[in-house]
Every structure is written in C-alpha cells, then in structure tokens.
C-alpha cells in the first residue's frame, strides 16, 4: 500500500515535469528539448537567491515558476519562432526545433555547472517537510503537495483543453496550423502563451522536486527529459490525458521493479514496457491514429 503511495508520488513528479513538454508538443507541435534545462535553471535561480537569506516555500516556488516561464518564452521567441519562420513546412522545422532546443539547453546547464562545480544544490528555506502518518502509511508534506499539484494540474489541463475555447483553438493548431490560422487563431500569441505555461510548469516542477529531493544536480534535468519524452510517446502525441496516464504507468513500473529488488533493471523494464506498448499500439495509448497505407 505504501508502495502504491510512493509510486503515485513518483508519478506526480514525472507528470509535473512532463506536462509542460506534452502541452507544447501536443498543441503547437514544439518538442522543446530545453525543457530539462529550464526545469533545472529555475530551481537554480531560486537556490542562488536563497543563499544569503532563506526563502519561504511559496516564494521559492513563485520565483521558479516565473523564471521558467521567462526562459521558455525567450527560447520560443529567440529560437523556435525564427526556425519556423524560415522553414518550408512544419515537418522540416521539427528536426531543427529539436536541435535548436538542444543547443539552447547547453547554456543554462553550463552556467549552473560553473557556479556549483557540479555539486548538488538545494533551496535554502525555513520550510522543512512534515511527515504525515495515517493508517500505517507515511507521506511527507512535500510529496503531498506534489501529488495534489501533479494530478490537479494534469487533469485540469486535460479538461481545459477539451472544454474551453482557447483549448479548442490550441488543439486545432496542433492538428492543422495553417487552417486554424485561416480560421482566426492567432498562432504567434497562442504559441507564446503556451510556451509560457509550459515553462511555468517546468519551474514549478523544479522547485517542488528540489524540495522533495533536498537537492538536485545540474544534470538532473537531462535525466528527466528522456523520461518525459518516453511518457509523451507512451501516452500518445497530442493527448494530455495520455501524458497523465503515461506518467503513472511509468512510475508504477519503476516502483514495482525496485520493490522486487532488481534496482539495476529499472530502466530496462520501463523502456522495455514502452517498447512493447508501442508495438501493440503504434500511436501510443491515447494518441491520434495516423493512417498509413504503406
């Protein structure tokens, strides 16, 4: 039972991190490889600001969220939009957006590595996690926040995308950008807005995870990116609900393997599982079905 709770917490961590990537990718079609660096650097800025005086929990989170949003918007305006402008079609832009993101990601990573000499860094705060015990189960307050935030935002975003007008506009952009633009959807504005939200989510994940783990290293973001990538593919491109389900499935699998005592096989089993699912459902769990006649 405790394992289930731990798996849920881990799943929420993955979900918080993945949501930003899934949102941008599923709607405006931008696979932002700088997402991991944004996540890490937002927490890093909170760390730097907290060096002299401890920051309260909410302040640290707020700083992280703002930094994350700013970073993603900057990346969108300075890099991705430039690529899209010069590309002949969305398809050709995709690969270059990928590489552009990789290039951009190196910059905050290098800065953080220099400053910390690659030692782990945390956020200096008066907040310490209290541990709740109920029915024989243990849960830290940070984990609780992560659980609520992850599930809440995940489900909230899914519903918003389905029900609201802007959500509809975003999903339309994801399906066919040109036609949507023709129907009056302001592509640039929606893109910047989406990236801002995605970046804010990255920052939120950064702060919360740093509190939960006590510290992260500059390389932590890159480790999570590959998991986020796997989750989005597993859940199906374009489906937020898929990302939610995918996060918990991945976390559940990893926890299962760990509990069974095979700690060194975790990556193999999780990626093997994704591999198998892709074979059975080539478009992911809830992805758009692509018709392919060859």
């Amino acid at each position: 039972m405790q394992d289930l709770l731990n798996a849920a917490t881990l799943g929420s961590i993955y979900l918080l991190f993945t949501l930003g990537m899934a949102l941008a990718w599923g709607t405006i079609g931008i696979l932002n490889f700088a997402h991991g660096a944004t996540f890490m650097f937002s927490a890093f800025v909170a760390h730097v600001l907290s060096r002299e005086t401890p920051l309260p929990f909410l302040a640290a989170v707020a700083i992280s969220v703002v930094v994350g949003a700013l970073m993603s918007v900057a990346t969108q305006v300075l890099a991705f939009q430039q690529i899209i402008k010069r590309a002949k079609s969305q398809h050709h832009a995709e690969l270059r957006i990928l590489i552009g993101g990789i290039g951009v990601a190196a910059i905050p990573l290098a800065i953080a590595q220099r400053e910390t000499k690659s030692s782990p860094f945390g956020i200096n705060s008066d907040y310490t996690a209290t541990v709740f015990e109920f029915a024989g189960l243990r849960l830290s307050s940070t984990a609780l926040v992560i659980l609520i935030a992850g599930l809440g935002i995940g489900i909230g975003l899914t519903v918003w995308l389905r029900r609201s007008r802007q959500g509809l506009a975003l999903r339309a952009l994801g399906v066919d950008a040109e036609t949507s633009a023709g129907m009056g959807v302001n592509r640039q504005v929606m893109a910047i807005g989406t990236m801002a939200v995605a970046g804010a989510l990255a920052g939120l994940a950064g702060a919360l995870l740093t509190f939960h783990l006590s510290a992260i290293a500059p390389e932590t973001g890159d480790q999570l990116i590959i998991k986020a990538f796997a989750i989005v593919v597993l859940g199906g491109l374009g489906s937020m609900a898929g990302a939610v389900i995918g996060s918990y499935v991945l976390a559940g699998t990893e926890t299962l393997v760990l509990v069974a005592g095979h700690g060194t096989w975790v990556d193999a089993v999780s990626f093997g599982l994704i591999f198998l699912i892709l074979l059975v459902r080539p478009q992911g769990l809830l992805g758009r079905k692509e018709v392919r006649r060859t």
């Binding site: 690969l95 270059r96 990928l98 590489i99 590959i226 796997a230 060194t264 193999a268 591999f275 692509e290």
Partner: protein, 314 residues
C-alpha cells in the same frame, strides 16, 4: 606537419569514427526512417568486439568483424519488429532499444564487466584502418546517392505511397536501412572500443544520440558529405574554441542553436547553394543584363522551388 598530425591523431581518428556513428543514423533517416538504433548498434559492436578480445583472445580484425556483424543482425531483427512505427514513435522505440543495450551491459556480470565495463582490449588499429573503413562505407553510400537507386530512395522518403504505386518495395528498403545502420554503427563501436581499449555501460547513452543528431542536422542531412562536415565541426570545435576557456559549453550551445535557425539544410546546404550560385554566375549575370528569369529556376528566392528540400539532387 608530421608533428601536428601526431599530436592531433586522436582528433583525426575521432572525426572518422564520429562520421560512421552519424552515418548509422543518417542512413535510415535518408529513407524516412527515424531510427536511432545505430547508437545501440554502436554499443553492441563495441561490447562484442571487446568481449572477443578479452574473453576469447581474438585478434583485432576478427573482433571487429564479429562486433559489426552482431550489431547488424541485432539491428536488422529490431527493424523487423518495429517497422510499423512512424516518426517520433519509431524514434522513441529505437532510443528504448539503445538504453536497454546499456542496461544489459551493466547487468552482464563477468561477460560485460558489469558497471566497470571491459578494459585491456587494445586492438592493433592504425589510423589507416579507420580511414579505410570510413572510405569503404562512404563509397558504398555514394553509389546509393547516385542515379536510379538514389532517386528511388528519395521517393521512398518523400512519398512512400507513390513509391509503392511505382512498384518499389518500400518495406524492403526500410528493413535494409536497419541492417545498414546496424552494420555501420557496429563498425564504429568496434573501432572506437578497440582503439580506446575500454568500453563502459555509460558510454552508450542518450548523449550519443544527441551527438549523432546534431552532427547530421548541422552538417546537412541529405548526404554523407553533410555527416562528414558535421563530424569535422563537432570534433574540432573544442580545439578552435580552446581560447574561450570555460565558456566553451555556452559558445557550443549558441553555435548549435544558430545553426538550427539559420542553416535549414545544414552547412552542406549552404555550401551547395554557394556552389550553385558560383556555377551559374555567368548565366545569371547575363540574364540580369538582359532581364527575365533564368531558365531552370523558378521564382523562389533560394532557387529551390518545388525540389524537395532534403537533398535529393537528381
């Protein structure tokens, strides 16, 4: 000259092995198959070659051959299994394959040396051998870029339905691309491992995938020449940037980002563009003087018009 060569020998060797690694991803990409299995093949080739040398005391060439073949077969089988996947789903599945190879290496106990990996597999590899292998692969690739075969491959990539309609067995081309990428990737892995005399599980990782992809996109994804240009740039960049010292990583990131923004077809695309403009300079000057658009070009600014932008020059 000899001194410069000797002190930079590692970089020279690295250029060609990186070329092979990049080609293992570029080959399937040219056929429209978004597969990173070549990196996994790199790991398999490296480990098999090292195992042959360390456990069975084979000599260099048989070990390399064993590594290359093992990787080729494994990747071919993988290709059979995943051939229905497309785009980023295929990419993810092949990345999963690569990461699983790394985990198998860690858990391989005595066979693979576990977490420490294998060491002491010092092959008798001269730079000549590496360049020779690269030349052979490149020459073979060149034949696939020319003439009818080249056009068929372009069609398979750009319009698989049309290709099928024309009687080209698209599925067979795709399967073969897996085999080719496995062989080339395995060769790269075997060469590098026996050259460095060591291989560890964490050498087969996502960073290699990123490196191969960056090399291809920045250099130019249409041809082996692009991969060569990309390899030259990324292997020698740290040497050129050495005066920047600790800001090297940042400059590297900026260069990659700028290349992604401003060089749509990579450095190769720019080079081809310049070459084309150079070759047609007389005609363009003449036409400018006389007015009217040059023959053979549409009104497009880049002069490419309806030609597919991933290089498939006819």
């Amino acid at each position: 000259m000899n001194d410069w060569y000797l002190s930079n020998i590692v970089l020279v060797q690295s250029t060609f092995t990186t070329l092979l690694l990049a080609l293992s991803v570029q080959i399937p990409m040219r056929m429209g198959v978004f597969s990173f299995a070549g990196i996994g093949a790199y790991g398999i080739g490296g480990y098999v070659a090292a195992m042959c040398m360390v456990h069975r005391e084979w000599t260099t060439v048989p070990a390399i051959v064993a590594g290359t073949l093992a990787a080729g077969i494994a990747t071919f089988l993988l290709g059979l299994v995943v051939q229905r996947l497309t785009g980023l789903y295929m990419g993810m599945a092949t990345i999963a394959f690569t990461l699983i190879v790394a985990v198998l290496a860690v858990n391989g106990g005595e066979w693979t040396g576990g977490a420490s990996g294998l060491f002491g597999a010092l092959g008798d590899i001269t730079t000549g051998l590496i360049i020779g292998c690269a030349v052979v692969v490149v020459v073979l690739l060149q034949f696939t870029e020319m003439g009818g075969l080249g056009r068929r491959i372009d069609t398979v990539r750009e319009d698989p339905e049309l290709a099928n309609a024309m009687g080209i067995n698209v599925a067979r081309y795709r399967r073969l691309s897996f085999l080719a990428s496995g062989l080339v990737g395995g060769l790269a892995g075997a060469l590098v491992t026996l050259l460095r005399s060591t291989i560890t599980p964490d050498l087969v990782n996502f960073h290699l995938v990123v490196l191969a992809l960056t090399v291809i996109v920045v250099g130019g994804s249409g041809s082996w020449i692009g991969a060569l240009i990309g390899s030259l740039i990324f292997v020698w960049l740290p040497t050129w940037l050495v005066f920047i010292g600790e800001w090297e990583e940042i400059v590297y990131g900026v260069i990659v980002a700028l290349a992604a923004i401003f060089l749509p077809s990579g450095v190769l695309g720019v080079a081809k563009n310049l070459w084309h403009r150079f070759r047609t300079r007389d005609e363009r000057a003449r036409l400018k003087a006389g007015g009217g658009t040059p023959a053979g070009e549409t009104g497009d600014a880049g002069g490419r018009g309806l030609v597919p932008s991933v290089e498939g020059e006819a």
